[in-house]
């Protein structure tokens, strides 16, 4: 990569040959406004918002398609540039309905933002606006408003270049140009809702999220998608202690700027529904509420010395929880078989762009923490079904899925069953003790994705009163079982496990950062 020296707004900058002006300026801390440019898509050059003045060139040039050259001097704030930005903003707004009060994009709209930065004039357009289709359903997750669209074609290019599914096209000409489903397609590819994220205006909005919350009320927490072991980086965005949406958070080592639709909407099932807020204990006639004290005592006396204990964790349990659970199970029974939930399904080519075949984001981490048996999860389930165990401790998964009847009868025959979950699942209904727990969005900790990248989960919402973090429950049980640990916070548990688990040796909780770090990289945040 040959170095190239160029000048942006009088500041000398060194970049590599082939870099475009818009990228090189960004590297130098100069943001050039743009709509159609997207670093992961081909250059369209249609919005004309990124025009800059380049010395010795008579006309302004688009920064997105101009490569830097040795000695090139670029002006991003000259009078000509300021004037053309103002002009382009006017063009983009003359047929725009300016319906900000009822537009879901308000607050995160580049028309609003750039209007304030680059235009700020009253409308000079008095001769009638072009009308277009309103609230047009493009697919299960995406709705289109043609009047708000600025025809940047990011969505069209996304479907051509990223998913290669080609559902969208531009039709008609001039200011009647509009985005349309192509040839009766439906925008239902597995990554479809990303078009909402890359739409810089309110033309494409999320059917699930729209009209739920004004975006400026959202509290945003960087975290990891609980959908599968790809470990896409996300921002969990919450309002009044409820998760309102997931947005992708760019991490070029994992997911780029995208997430899949399944992951995006997974919080409804994982975080929704009626929560357990009190421990339950089985008495004659069924499960009844009890105190944490009684429940934990019952668990200890029910499981201690168990001749054959099956311990099953959710794939959404963090490394820290998994580490503690392994300790606890071994403390309770010398014959404990541990497993983490894992099931695969077939994926299509488009699904494989991001998705992993499992639904266990921390499957690899659980294996690293020593949770695993010879026959794998399927083998353990089979053993459970054939009554090989006397007791079981099941965390965060409902095992009575499609093929649940055999498991149901096996669970019913157990001497003692503990279920720890957020909701009263069908599995929980069979338990002797049910412990109310926190879900992925309420906890802090780490997941290790399928590539071996350790990434950090952060609590986006607070778990309901009465429910407890899995790690806290495990620590209290360990304490009761005579193995008191001197630590409790996720960071402390992490640092303890790095002492014991060789692959994690040398990693530092604080340096995992928002982009995670690879196992074997010796800690420190990767790019």
């Amino acid at each position: 990569m040959d170095p190239v020296k160029f000048i942006v707004d009088g500041k000398e900058v060194v970049t590599t040959k082939g870099t475009t002006v818009i990228q090189a300026a960004a590297e130098a801390g100069v943001a050039i406004p743009h709509y159609c440019y997207h670093p992961k898509l081909s250059i369209a050059g249609n919005c004309r918002m990124c025009m800059v003045e380049i010395e010795k060139m008579p006309k302004l040039q688009i920064a997105c398609n101009t490569q830097v050259a040795e000695g090139m001097s670029v002006l991003t704030q000259s009078p000509k540039v300021v004037a053309v930005r103002k002009a382009v903003m006017e063009f983009l707004l003359i047929n725009h309905p300016v319906d900000c009060p009822i537009c879901d994009q308000a607050g995160e709209c580049q028309l609003q933002n750039y209007y304030m930065e680059h235009n700020r004039q009253e409308s000079r357009q008095e001769v009638g606006k072009i009308h277009d289709r309103k609230k047009t359903i493009f697919g299960p997750n995406v709705v289109f408003d043609g009047e708000r669209c600025i025809k940047c074609t990011r969505c069209v290019r996304f479907c051509q270049e990223i998913t290669k599914t080609n559902e969208l096209a531009v039709i008609n000409r001039g200011d009647h140009s509009t985005i349309s489903l192509f040839d009766n397609a439906v925008l239902d590819n597995p990554l479809s809702a990303n078009v909402v994220d890359i739409c810089p205006v309110g033309a494409l909005t999320d059917r699930d999220f729209r009209f739920k919350v004004r975006v400026w009320y959202l509290e945003k927490t960087p975290s990891i998608c609980p959908g599968c072991s790809t470990g896409c980086n996300i921002s969990v965005e919450a309002y009044q202690n409820k998760i309102a949406r997931f947005k992708p958070r760019q991490n070029d080592s994992v997911n780029g700027p995208w997430i899949c639709d399944e992951g995006r909407y997974s919080f409804h099932e994982l975080a929704g529904g009626e929560r357990l807020t009190m421990p339950l204990i089985r008495q004659e006639g069924g499960l009844v509420p009890t105190t944490w004290e009684n429940a934990l005592q019952a668990v200890l006396s029910g499981l201690r010395g168990s001749p054959a204990l099956a311990g099953i964790l959710s794939g959404r349990n963090t490394n820290e929880e998994t580490y503690l659970f392994a300790k606890l199970a071994r403390q309770l029974s010398s014959a404990a078989a541990l497993e983490v939930f894992y099931q695969e399904r077939e994926l299509t080519e488009t699904q494989r762009i991001l998705m992993s075949p499992d639904r266990s984001p921390n499957f690899r981490g659980a294996r690293d923490m020593g949770v695993g048996s010879n026959g794998g999860f399927a083998g353990l389930l089979e053993e459970l079904a054939s009554n090989k165990f006397s007791s079981a401790y099941i965390v965060g998964e409902d095992l009575l899925g499609a093929d649940g009847e055999k498991i149901r009868s096996a669970l019913q025959q157990l001497k003692f069953l503990v279920v720890q979950d957020t909701k009263l699942t069908e599995t929980a209904k069979l338990a002797h003790v049910v412990l109310p727990a926190a879900h992925f969005g309420e906890k802090e900790g780490t997941y290790t994705n399928r590539q071996g990248r350790v990434q950090k989960l952060n609590a986006a919402v607070i778990c309901p009163e009465g429910a407890r973090q899995d790690s806290e429950i495990f620590l209290r049980l360990l304490d009761g079982a005579g193995h008191k640990l001197a630590y409790s916070a996720p960071s402390e548990i992490f640092s303890a496990l790095t002492q014991e688990v060789a692959a994690y040796s040398g990693l530092n909780y604080d340096s995992i950062g928002e982009q995670g770090c690879e196992l074997g990289s010796g800690g420190g945040a990767a790019s």
Binding site: N46, R48, L60, V88, E126, V127, A169, G174, D175
Partner: protein, 422 residues
């Protein structure tokens, strides 16, 4: 003056191979393939001084020389026969009456860049012309003038006639290529340029019909004979299609540098019915209008018309007499461009129709005093800021009409209606 382009026009059955060959047709083609190296051919055309007749006037030989010789990709020669500039109908005459002249010129250009596939992209509405070209190409294949191993030299060349689907923008060379590729007729962002990344991403030259149709004559008579005609910088002859208020409209071939006024008054018979001349658009609908008093010093060559503040463009001369409402003329052109804007980039997509709507109220009532300056401002915001030259083409006419006939526009606004036609 000896006719270069119109030499076969008017000859009975001029469109047939036998007539064309009886008048020396395809001799240049045979000579090129059998005796010239591509570099020699390019040098010859450079020496002739031939410039692109599509409107921009770029030197033809130079354009060919930009094609990389060492590219492993196939190269393409594309003839732009998408003639649709308002007031322009010169290519159509050549296509319909002398199709073999165009086919021969197309093949000579293809040989210059060592292309083995040449496309003639013809405007969809020119159904008759397309049929004529298809017949000519079929005759050429049959006679062994097109196809494999031409004249035993091992050189292969196919010629494909492709009909467009009716969009003015497809006359812009990169939009034409997008359309030819099977895509939406959208201009491509440049760089890269077609010479290196053209049709299907391969090195491509796009030449206008008139440019290509000149080549057989140059090869037959020599570069010197061609460059002996015209002015210092505008060599040879050029076609002009004259329409509007003129006694003898039609297609004329003139030596470059011919006095504009003399052409209109003598060759074309002047403005008929004793009316006075009000304005002339010299180079097709997208070029700035000239007032009668501006014509005296103008000669019909690239430099002279440019010095007068307009452009020679396609040579589509539109003559308007004193009965013409200049607001309506500007509105008519604005409506055309608003209809034809491809909609790809913001300034053109949004601005051109906006100008039309304001012009509409100047002509039909409801205009306000600031409207003219607003139009000039919008035109200024479009020109130079778009992906392709369409933005300039759409922005120039209203600007020129308003600047040159401002009193008439002001009178419309003051009266709240048209002051010329009523």
């Amino acid at each position: 003056m000896e006719k270069v382009l119109l030499r076969n026009i008017g000859v009975p059955a001029s469109h047939t191979l036998s007539t064309y060959q009886s008048r020396g047709g395809y001799a240049s083609w045979r000579k090129v393939v059998q005796t010239l190296k591509p570099e020699q051919l390019i040098e010859e055309v450079k020496a002739s001084g031939l410039r692109g007749r599509g409107g921009a006037g770029f030197p033809t030989g130079m354009k060919w020389s930009f094609v990389p010789k060492d590219s492993p990709k196939p190269k393409y020669l594309v003839c732009n026969a998408d003639e649709s500039e308002p007031g322009t109908f010169k290519d159509r005459l050549l296509i319909e009456q002398d199709p073999h002249g165009l086919v021969e010129g197309t093949m000579i250009a293809a040989f210059a860049i060592q292309s083995h596939t040449a496309f003639i992209y013809i405007r969809g509405e020119m159904a008759f012309g397309a049929t004529r070209l298809e017949q000519a190409v079929a005759e050429g294949y049959q006679a062994g003038l097109i196809g494999k191993n031409l004249f035993g030299t091992g050189y292969d060349l196919d010629v494909i006639v492709h009909r467009g689907a009716g969009a003015y923008i497809c006359g812009e060379e990169t939009a034409l290529l997008s359309s030819l590729e099977g895509g939406r007729g959208w201009p491509k962002v440049k760089p890269p340029f077609p010479a290196t990344h053209g049709l299907f991403g391969c090195p491509t030259v796009v030449n206008n019909v008139e440019t290509l149709a000149t080549l057989p004559w140059i090869l037959e008579r020599g570069a010197a004979a061609y460059s002996a005609m015209g002015t210092e910088k505008s060599k040879g002859t050029k076609l002009f299609s004259v329409s509007g208020h003129i006694a003898r409209p039609g297609v004329y071939e003139l030596e470059m540098g011919y006095p504009f006024k003399k052409f209109l008054d003598e060759d074309c018979g002047g403005v008929p019915n004793g009316k006075k001349l009000k304005g002339v658009i010299p180079g097709g609908g997208s070029m700035p209008v000239l007032k009668p008093e501006e014509l005296d010093k103008v000669n019909l060559d690239y430099e002279s018309v440019a010095a007068a503040g307009s452009l020679l463009g396609s040579g589509g001369v539109i003559v308007m007499d004193e009965t013409v409402c200049m607001v309506r003329a500007a509105l008519n052109l604005a409506r055309f461009f608003a209809h034809e804007s491809c909609g790809q980039c913001s300034p053109c997509r949004e601005g051109v129709h906006w100008m039309e709507k304001i012009l509409h109220r100047v002509e039909h009532g409801g205009a306000q005093s600031g409207d003219l300056d607003l139009i000039l401002n919008i035109a200024g915001n479009i020109a130079g800021n778009t992906i392709c030259p369409f933005g300039d083409a759409a922005a120039w006419p209203p600007g020129a009409f308003i600047r040159k006939y401002r009193d008439e526009f002001e009178a419309h606004i003051a009266a709240g209606k048209c002051t010329v036609r009523n």
